[in-house]
Assembly symmetry: C2
Homo-oligomer: 330 residues x 2
């Protein structure tokens, strides 16, 4: 939850006026994102506004932290590319000069479409299947996207995070976490593949970043970890994000099967991609265990941001690393 910056109504109206979206009607700071401020904006739209019926709606994002401004053209033009290829992602609204983002008070801001839908907490089989298919559609649609961005959250970054946490730090969270990281990190670094198909990947497709209405995906959002990397690693991340219940304690084979079937309905995995999935899923679990561990150790209690438990993904890492579970990916 976060709205870090106050923008008064007059400043907001002036800010919205640089887009061809009509006049400002409403602006509500929304509690989404941990590194940006976001507002749900309503305008009169192109058609006029009678004061009752809904006008046009948008999300205004102010980039506060973490985002490299140099990466914004990649993220924002990717949205346009995917939307033009019928992926359910929010279009970027360009300003009157055609720019994807602007500056306000020294910070970058961007306006994107508002999409309907809610983020599920307890996915159904039908929803997992739909998310798998949406992920595959995104991978296929991005094939001719010209932008490139390296994965800033790849194996070298996990190693850096593990070092920054230190064995003592990890042990202070849970001795099991320290032991798992010590055991798994060399395996991942040694065996991480680099000869599989690559594409744009979302790299963070948790339920929070998917809007749904029933079993229909209405929005894939929050592309701020998107990058070019192994396509099937995105399947592994999404698997880790969707296929466990009870804080990582309970694997859900039904959701797993549905997610993979949905994905393969549009983009069948090659034998080599499938064979790599168990290791890539261990990597995905490591990535989130370590970024959460780092934030856990570096977020003061009582801060604005709720700390997320790294042990959820430590449990999933142990699951994926157990040879008894090798059959999960077929």
């Amino acid at each position: 939850m976060a709205v870090y910056t106050h923008i008064g109504a007059e400043a907001m109206a002036a800010l919205i006026a640089v887009y061809e979206v009509g006049d400002l009607v409403s602006a509500k700071g929304i509690a989404e994102g941990v590194s940006n401020s976001n507002w749900l904006i309503e305008t009169t739209g192109a058609r006029g506004f009678d004061g009752k019926a809904g006008g046009a709606r948008f999300i205004l994002t102010m980039y506060e932290l973490r985002i490299e401004i140099g990466d914004l053209p990649y993220f924002l033009s990717l949205l346009d590319h995917l939307a033009a290829h019928d992926c359910p992602v929010p279009r970027t609204i360009h300003d009157r000069d055609g720019r994807l983002f602007r500056r306000h008070d020294g910070k970058a801001i961007a306006l994107i479409e508002f999409l309907p839908g809610v983020s599920v907490s307890e996915p159904t089989v039908g929803q997992a299947r739909a998310v798998g298919a949406a992920l595959a559609r995104m991978h296929l649609a991005a094939a001719d996207f010209s932008g490139t961005r390296a994965n800033a959250m790849g194996v070298p970054e996990w190693q850096r995070l593990a070092g920054a946490c230190g064995q003592d730090g990890l042990r202070s969270i849970d001795p099991l976490l320290a032991a798992l990281v010590a055991r798994e990190m060399p395996v991942l670094a040694d065996r991480w593949p680099d000869d599989l198909p690559r594409s744009v990947i979302h790299a963070d497709l948790f339920p929070d970043n998917v809007l749904m209405l029933g079993e229909r995906v209405t929005g894939l959002i929050d592309f701020y970890f998107a990058c070019n990397d192994l396509t099937v690693y995105d399947v592994a991340v999404t698997h880790a994000a969707w296929c466990f219940a009870d804080e990582g304690r309970r694997f859900r084979p039904d959701l797993s099967a549905a997610l993979l079937a949905g994905y393969e309905s549009l983009r069948p995995l090659s034998a080599r991609e499938r064979a790599a999935l168990p290791l890539l899923a261990r990597g995905a679990a490591m990535r989130f265990a370590l970024s959460r561990a780092y934030d856990w150790l570096n977020t003061p209690p009582g801060a604005l941001v709720t700390r997320k438990d790294p042990m959820v993904f430590a449990r999933q890492l142990a699951f994926y690393a157990d040879p008894a579970n090798a059959s999960v990916f077929g």
Copy 2:
């Protein structure tokens, strides 16, 4: 800013289903209110929903703190009463059993209309006039409202807050604050009138609690301090809330004149009400100086809520108490 409670999409859909407002389409936690959690809710509405055009919108409030549940029927039925009398306030949406509020996880929740408009930061003369008129309309419309609620933020509560802060506490904020409270509190307690016309008052009509489109008031919101008290005290509160700039340092005679003229265009003040205004404005400034001082001393640094500077209203209190400024209210 605040969303204290997480409600998953599935629970939210079930919660919305108890109202006759169609199916849940979107729910965004919004950063408004300091003691409640609020969500901007969109539903399919009565007419169906094509996935693009705006459906019906509402604000869902979960009462977390401070609100006495016993007061909710007063606040919520007041909204219905005022809306039925053409005041721009959000109607309360009753559930299928006709209830104004419900329980969810042990907390009270209510669904109210969403209203368009933004809260201005730098009011214009036209906006101040419109707010004055909206306040008078509200007072007149509430004349036949049957509910009653005592003002929990009246003189006795200021005395309690001053005692709870203590002279040392007030001095730790600013020696001028301690001196002002010591000088003014006996005057206010001694001279506070009780023989002026009474009605429902909003008692907290700051710009944050008024939605506007241009110079039109589209919404008076956040009635959680509403109560029955001296009608003209509400004029004094609204005056203190709207007629100063630069953190209470600069009185704006143009806004003051416009606010009072707007009010009197619908409800002229009697000579006795007008004569009482300077003292009541001192009281209004005291009320906000003390509630802010108390929160200042009792809010840990780094907490979710931004502390508001009590000195803004200490300055205004000094202004209102200065005989040289007696002519402000005519």
